[in-house]
């Protein structure tokens, strides 16, 4: 009656062998193709380095003006712009300007990548049901798998550094853009599509003139979520070599520097709020004419 009290598990040796075989195979793969894959991601590294160099190399006053300018373009609200300026000044005054710039450039690169990959993927999912049923479970895994687990193969392949960190952040942060692009396009009113068809639109014209514009507010909500999730990954990313606000937090944890942790934590919260308010009010402005009124 052993199997009643003890879970009938696989033979321990066998199990160990399986794990060992897989690990070995992967290690072999890494040795064989690691450098090739690294070259594959080289453009990404260059992009990141350039973005970071721009943010940290440009005089702070220009960057500040730039950030406030973007805030204005997005929100058209003096209040939001002033709050943005004040937050950035405070962050700089407390000695976190450099790290903040690094984090912002990382978030920027991550968002660009998420948009470039995520929106076409979302469009494809909306178009083909088969695509949706394949991609959706993958997105579920991406979002629920603990980040450390997929960090292992990424680090094995690419080592410690900016690119693996970025990949980890993108894996975690990209799903909302994909999902909400898909959803937004699927929610477009059937009669709208019928009208586009009735006037003889090609598929591309339908996408460009009807589906994307009508889905845009939903897509913007996805981008907003992606930015927030990327910020949430800053500390984990810093564990594998991404510089920015995450590293001081990490240092604060291991050395029990309470204030350092709190300052950097609040800096992350500060830029999160700025990103959120600006992108949300941008989304709202997009939606201004979108409430369809009948009758």
């Amino acid at each position: 009656m052993d199997w009643l009290t003890q879970f009938p598990q696989m033979d321990a040796n066998q199990l160990r062998d399986i794990k060992k075989t897989i690990d070995e195979a992967f290690r072999g793969f890494t040795r064989a193709y690691g450098s090739d894959i690294e070259t594959l991601f080289e453009p990404l590294r260059v992009f990141m380095v350039q973005a970071e160099r721009f943010m940290t190399g440009t005089p702070w006053i220009i960057i500040l003006a730039l950030i406030m300018g973007v805030a204005w373009l997005g929100s058209r609200s003096v209040k939001v712009v002033l709050a943005t300026g004040a937050t950035m000044l405070l962050i700089g005054y407390l000695g976190m300007w450099e790290d903040t710039m690094k984090t912002v450039s990382m978030i920027f690169v991550c968002t660009v990548i998420s948009i470039v990959i995520g929106i076409p993927l979302g469009i494809a999912m909306a178009r083909w049901n088969r695509m949706q049923s394949i991609v959706n479970p993958i997105l579920d895994v991406m979002q629920t798998m603990p980040s450390f687990v997929y960090l292992i193969p990424v680090v094995m392949l690419l080592g410690i550094g900016k690119v693996p960190g970025l990949i980890a952040v993108v894996i975690y942060a990209m799903p909302p853009v994909i999902r909400l692009t898909n959803l937004g396009i699927r929610l477009v009113d059937k009669e709208m599509l019928e009208a586009a068809d009735a006037f003889g639109s090609s598929d591309w014209q339908k996408l460009k003139n009807v589906q994307l514009p009508l889905a845009l507010p939903t897509i913007m909500a996805g981008i907003n979520q992606t930015i927030m999730m990327a910020l949430a990954m800053v500390v984990i990313a810093s564990m594998i070599g991404v510089q920015g606000l995450g590293q001081p937090v990490l240092r604060a944890i291991s050395n029990q520097y309470f204030t350092l942790g709190v300052f950097n934590g609040f800096a992350i919260v500060g830029i999160a709020i700025i990103f959120d308010r600006v992108s949300q009010s941008f989304g709202k402005r997009l939606q201004k004419h979108s409430e369809v009124v009948h009758g």
Binding site: M192, A198, G200, S202, N209, S290, G295
Partner: protein
């Protein structure tokens, strides 16, 4: 302006459901909508539809909700593919067109107006009106000129920069109409285009459409579930029930000779004085002719008003084309025609 072209619908069937093609034989052999639904869980959308819509006229298709009106009109530009049958537009069979040919056909031969307007909320009135021309790839200056022209014709001058949600329903549908007209297609498809509007605006829109039609002479297919609207607009009317046409004819035919009790029950509520024409109610001319005369297509209401105004009780009726007197119309004949009930009606 494009020359008007006619539409010919022949033996058109539509069955909704995955096994539509296999069920065609059963339907051809007389299976009804109810049986098909019960035994095979398929919906019989259209059952052996045959209509010939002459070029340059308004064809109204009428029927209650679920009778297949939208399904039928969507076969004309093939937004819905038929299960069997043909739709000939200007001699071309829409059903067998390739994808590209169909897209071209939709761009140049048809334009559509929708019940819920289907305007793009993120575009201004002007940009919405341009839509069809933009899809055709017409240069911007030209499409704006065309759009401005039609916006003015539907009474929306000065509203070009507004967004649809800043306009009332009636105005939004005028944009819908202008967008369709800007396409300069010979066929205009209107699926309950005025049904979402309140009654006064609706009558306004009917007037606009009738006025425009005098000039544009398009082949208009107009769907409605409202008999008054059908009688007012339709050069000819087809009545659908459960996917079948149960009567086709002019408004006179429908009101004077309803084909079955279903249509009769519709017709009962109609203001007959506004539909029945003098030549349908007149009697053969005998004896001396009255001095005052009306045209044959004058409605009984107008004829009666003329009698009251002139203080007479009898009129001569002239044939419009020849001017020849073809009969006389008395006050009693008018009253009899207006108050007449078919046998079996209370």
């Amino acid at each position: 302006m494009a020359d008007p072209i006619g539409i010919e619908v022949r033996n058109l069937y539509k069955i909704f459901g995955p096994q539509a093609a296999q069920l065609m034989d059963a339907v051809r052999n007389g299976m009804t909508k109810a049986e098909l639904n019960e035994k095979h869980h398929h919906v019989l959308g259209l059952n052996d539809i045959n209509i010939s819509m002459p070029a340059g006229q308004i064809q109204v298709i009428m029927g209650l909700s679920g009778s297949g009106k939208s399904t039928l009109i969507r076969h004309i530009n093939r937004l819905i593919d038929p299960t069997a049958g043909e739709v000939l537009v200007g001699g071309e069979n829409v059903v067998t067109m390739s994808r590209d040919a169909l897209r071209d056909f939709r761009r140049h031969k048809t334009a559509m107006v929708f019940q819920k307007f289907a305007l793009l909320p993120n575009r201004t009135v002007l940009e919405n009106t341009c839509y069809g021309l933009e899809v055709q790839g017409i240069p911007q200056a030209k499409r704006i000129a065309a759009a401005m022209h039609w916006l003015e014709r539907v009474g929306l001058k000065g509203f070009e920069k507004k967004y649809p949600n800043q306009l009332s329903g009636g105005m939004q549908q005028r944009v819908g109409l202008a967008r369709a007209l800007a396409n300069d297609a010979p066929i205009l498809l209107m699926d309950e285009a005025f049904s979402a509007l309140d009654p006064l605006i609706r009558v306004d829109m009917q007037t606009i459409l009738l006025d425009l039609q005098k000039e544009i002479r398009k082949t208009i297919v107009f769907i409605t579930h409202d008999l008054d609207e059908a009688l007012r607009l339709g050069d000819s009317i087809a009545i659908l029930r459960d996917g079948e046409i149960i009567q086709q004819g002019s408004s006179q035919d429908i009101v004077l000779r309803p084909a079955d009790p279903y249509i009769e029950s519709f017709v009962r509520e109609v203001n007959r004085g506004r539909v029945i024409r003098a030549d349908a109610a007149m009697e053969p001319a005998t004896g001396p002719l009255p001095e005052v005369a009306v045209e044959g297509d004058c409605t009984l209401e107008d004829a009666g008003r003329l009698m009251v105004q002139s203080g007479i009780t009898r009129l001569a009726v002239r044939e419009t084309a020849t001017g020849r007197t073809t009969g006389t119309l008395s006050m009693e004949r008018i009253l009899a025609a207006i108050t007449q009930r078919s046998p079996g009606q209370p």
